[in-house]
């Protein structure tokens, strides 16, 4: 199952969830109606029916339909459940950040220097760059000695990673990487939106049972025991029972959906890191840990299906378990494990030391023979470096949303090689803004000055000075570092306050208006950055799927392909050929749109086109990206710039592409050996 299929499945699953939810509400209405009818005695034999001669001919039979009561019950139940769900969903509309705050998570600034914090930040950063997503903010849940973690948010854009203090303190780097890879798989598989919906649904149904409970208590306290009190008690008890049955099924559905996604995430984590020992080790440490994966926070149940491992010590019924049993999950990863957690924990320490030693030696060896950044050899791109080669677009597309070990290792090396000035600045909120400003500056000195004056209208002297300080380093940034730097920036800039974000946005707009000659890559980067931050700060809502087929998007698709072939191919005939090939891969009769190549483009309409394309269903996006890949690869030459442009476009369509594509045919490949 590739990225698009998985996204689509998650989307359909979450729609199915709504169907189950409606079914549950309807059956609860029926149940409660039944109880009300019985309790109030409204049900019963009907009045006798008379014929035209005034003789009784019998009754209509058992009468059980009273429209007014049914309407009252239906509206009351829908109102309660609906408002309960909506309330919860809206309380969590802030996405991942609100879930993390609800759990009492402490945000770790990306430039924290605490060794423990640093390690988890690095692991998350590498994983994000390997997957090609913005770096998600990291929250640590203090005072939780158990080993557990969660990913929360609606989309890749507002995702956050939360880990307990126990996870940070007790796990080795490999194990931590396994846990983070597991959580990233939830992010990439689109599980998170469903998770938040599930919280809402459960809350609505739970509310019904709660109401019954409060009414029962209210009656218990009221002085008036006569009249309808008995009926009320009966109804309240009925509501509690039916609400509980509703909860039962809701939990069952939640557990079923959740367990299935957990196995998938474990398997994906192994694929990301190609190191089953990491995640297996983390699971075994849970077994060895006194606290296991328990989370003590009172709100734990709400997010129980989001976490790395079950947060309750034992489940009475396995069918309620949101996670497969620890033993089973470990057995999937390490079939030879004998179940002795304590022995594992004891042996682990020595092994970790040995491994560190071995790794160091291996690194030294590698250093001597290394010909380039790791990830060059093997993997899905083969050893095609430095030559002209045909890349199968299908292989490229298959890699989307599925980073592997090469990507992770590549990102690890890449992070180290980003010039330190830029890397440090990108992890600091204050300076990260200046990196963005610097990256949008024109090459010409005079325009540059005008742009800085435009920025100075809203920002202080310190910001201008910092931008000037970073200017040259940002200018000289190699093409392959640019997207990763932006991914880091996206994570860091979420640390602004909403007021600071408003100022920042205005400055970016002013700066861009002072110069309209940004290149295409910069346009996509800026567009993606602003869209991402807009969503994060709640300025716009995440795109909804509106286009299930590619037909209505003819204009947008053809324009985008025309732009791509226009910049990738110098020769106009070749560009036309690339356009034809790309359109052919779409199997659409749009060949006559080839004139778009000569038309040029303007950024505002390109931005609108991107917004529309983002509302396409995942399978449509897959088609589009495939045809884009065909267009880029038509001339058999893929430069870093083209590849990174492809990644930038894909990313602004919310399709994260791993970076190894950047290493193909690196035009700066240095045979003398790149120091890593």
């Amino acid at each position: 199952m590739d990225f698009f299929a998985s996204q689509d499945l998650a989307r359909r699953n979450s729609r199915r969830l709504i169907f189950y939810f409606i079914a549950a509400v309807v059956s609860m209405i029926a149940g409660i109606y039944f109880v009300v009818m019985l309790a109030t005695g409204a049900a019963g034999m009907n009045e006798p029916v008379y014929n035209e001669f005034g003789q009784a001919t019998g009754t209509t039979g058992f009468h059980f339909f009273e429209p007014t009561i049914l309407a009252a019950v239906a509206s009351a139940v829908s109102l309660i459940v609906g408002s309960g769900s909506l309330y919860k969903v809206s309380a969590l509309s802030g996405g991942g950040e609100s879930v993390a705050s609800m759990m009492g998570g402490r945000h770790i600034p990306p430039n924290s220097t605490e060794p423990g914090d640093r390690r988890i930040l690095n692991v998350v950063e590498e994983m994000a760059l390997a997957a090609g997503t913005p770096v998600p903010p990291v929250y640590v849940i203090e005072n939780e000695p158990g080993i557990n973690a969660f990913a929360a948010g609606y989309t890749v854009d507002d995702a956050v990673i939360g880990v307990t203090r126990g996870t940070v303190n007790l796990l080795s780097r490999d194990e931590l990487q396994g846990v983070v890879a597991h959580e990233f798989s939830h992010i990439l598989n689109g599980d998170m939106r469903m998770s938040i919906r599930m919280i809402g649904v459960l809350h609505g149904i739970q509310l019904l049972a709660l109401i019954g409970y409060y009414v029962l208590r209210g009656v218990g306290r009221s002085r008036d025991k006569k009249g309808g009190a008995a009926a009320i008690v009966l109804i309240a008890i009925g509501v509690i029972i039916i609400g509980s049955i509703g909860m039962f099924f809701a939990r069952l559905i939640k557990a079923m959906v959740s367990r299935q996604r957990e196995y998938l995430a474990d398997a994906s984590a192994v694929q990301f890191t190609r190191n089953p020992e990491g995640i297996a080790g983390a699971l075994k440490m849970i077994g060895a840990n006194m606290e296991g994966s328990v989370m003590q926070n009172a709100r734990s149940e709400e997010i129980s299906h989001m976490t790395f491992s079950s947060m309750f010590k034992s489940n009475f019924f396995n069918m309620f378990a949101t996670h497969p049993p620890l033993e089973k999950r470990i057995a999937e990863l390490d079939p030879h494990f004998d179940g002795d957690y304590q022995a594992f924990a004891n042996a682990r320490l020595q092994r970790l030391q040995r491994r560190d030693e071995a790794r160091r030696k291996q690194e030294e060896k590698k250093q001597q023979i290394r010909m380039g950044i790791p990830g060059m050899g093997g993997g899905r791109l083969g050893s095609m470096m430095g030559e002209q080669f045909p890349v199968d677009p299908a292989i490229l597309i298959a890699g989307i949303g599925l980073p592997d070990e090469d990507d992770v290792e590549y990102s690890h090396a890449l992070v180290d090689r980003i010039p330190e000035v830029v890397a440090d600045a990108s992890r600091d909120v204050f300076s990260a803004r200046c990196v963005v400003f610097a990256s949008l500056l024109n090459e010409e000195r005079e325009i540059r000055r005008a742009q800085l004056h435009a920025v100075a209208k809203g920002e202080g002297q310190a910001t201008i000075d910092e931008t000037i300080r970073l200017m040259n380093d940002v200018d000289n940034l190699e093409a392959r570092f640019r997207l990763p730097v932006f991914e880091i920036l996206q994570g860091t800039l979420t640390g602004m306050s909403p007021e600071q974000y408003d100022t920042f946005r205005e400055s970016v707009d002013r700066l861009v208006h002072a110069d309209n000659r940004v290149d295409l890559f910069e346009f996509f980067m800026r567009h993606h950055l602003i869209v991402h931050l807009d969503r994060r700060f709640g300025r716009v809502s995440p795109p909804q799927v509106t286009y299930k087929t590619i037909d209505p998007l003819q204009n947008e698709v053809c324009s985008l392909i025309a732009i791509l072939v226009g910049i990738g191919h110098e020769d106009i005939e070749e560009a036309r050929g690339a356009f034809a090939a790309a359109i052919q891969s779409l199997e659409m009769p749009w060949q006559d749109q080839v004139h778009l190549i000569d038309r040029g483009y303007d950024y505002p309409s390109l931005a609108i086109a991107l917004e529309r394309l983002n509302e396409a269903a995942p399978p449509v996006k897959k088609k589009l990206l495939t045809s884009m890949a065909v267009a880029i690869m038509y001339d058999q030459i893929v430069t870093v710039e083209e590849a990174e442009l492809f990644r930038a476009i894909a990313e602004s369509l919310d399709c994260p592409v791993p970076p190894v594509v950047a290493t193909i045919n690196r035009d700066d490949a240095d045979p003398s050996g790149v120091q890593v």
């Binding site: 109030t40 009351a76 309660i80 408002s83 309960g84 309330y87 309380a91 802030g94 609100s98 705050s101 609800m102 009492g104 998570g105 402490r106 945000h107 770790i108 600034p109 430039n111 924290s112 220097t113 509310l207 709660l210 109401i211 409060y214 009414v215 209210g218 009656v219 009221s222 008036d224 006569k226 009249g227 309808g228 009190a229 009926a231 009320i232 309240a236 600091d428 909120v429 204050f430 300076s431 000055r449 800085l452 004056h453 100075a456 209208k457 920002e459 202080g460 002297q461 310190a462 910001t463 201008i464 910092e466 000037i468 200017m471 640390g495 602004m496 306050s497 909403p498 007021e499 600071q500």
Partner: protein, 199 residues
């Protein structure tokens, strides 16, 4: 169904709505409180960095201005005070007394540093020392970052305090243990003028 039944049902629903409403207020306040606490951690990172830079600065200065022992010691002492005030503050962000003592300690440190740098002006060799120059630059840049982080923190505190003071939250906030959070004031507000662009 009699009127009592309906009264009870309506009463139950109203009670529940009220409880939900309270829970909503509580959750909202918790979220806003966590936000400003998280915003404080950005100040924390920068202050730590600033405090780490100072011993280096003093060490460099020591080689040139051995006679100014008192000034140097004053800086070290102010730094130590600032560190303990900062630790107390980061354990309890928003608490008025620890915020105030942190601000006091930081401004004490600023004063001591300012005196040191002023005296350093009269030592041309020290002024020209490369270490000294880069340390000074780093101190300035850290201070800028502190200022920006403080602005973010103040925004978050203001949002929390506003949320807390709006009716109906104000009626229950105190009862639920949500105290007013303290802003971090800037000691001297530099007058805003158009920044200077030169490169």
């Amino acid at each position: 169904m009699g009127p009592i039944v309906w009264a009870l049902i309506i009463g139950g629903v109203l009670l529940l709505l009220f409880v939900m409403f309270l829970v909503g207020i509580y959750n909202g306040l918790v979220t806003f409180r966590n936000r400003y606490k998280n915003a404080f951690s950005q100040i924390d990172v920068q202050l730590k960095r600033r405090h780490d830079l100072i011993p280096n600065l003093v060490n460099v200065a020591k080689g040139y201005m051995a006679h100014e022992k008192e000034t140097l010691e004053a800086v070290i002492q102010a730094r130590n005070q600032a560190i303990s005030a900062q630790q107390a503050a980061s354990a309890n962000p928003g608490d008025p007394s620890s915020m105030r003592s942190m601000m006091q300690a930081e401004s004490g440190l600023n004063g001591a540093l300012g005196r040191l740098l002023m005296i350093a002006e009269s030592y041309p060799d020290l002024k020209a020392n490369e270490n000294m120059m880069s340390l000074q630059e780093e101190l300035t840049s850290t201070e800028n970052k502190v200022a920006y982080a403080r602005q973010g923190y103040n925004d978050a505190v203001t949002a929390y305090n506003n949320k807390r003071e709006v009716f109906p939250a104000v009626a229950v906030a105190g009862m639920l243990g949500f105290k007013e959070a303290e802003l971090l004031e800037v000691e001297k507000d530099i007058e805003r003028e158009a920044p200077n662009v030169s490169f």
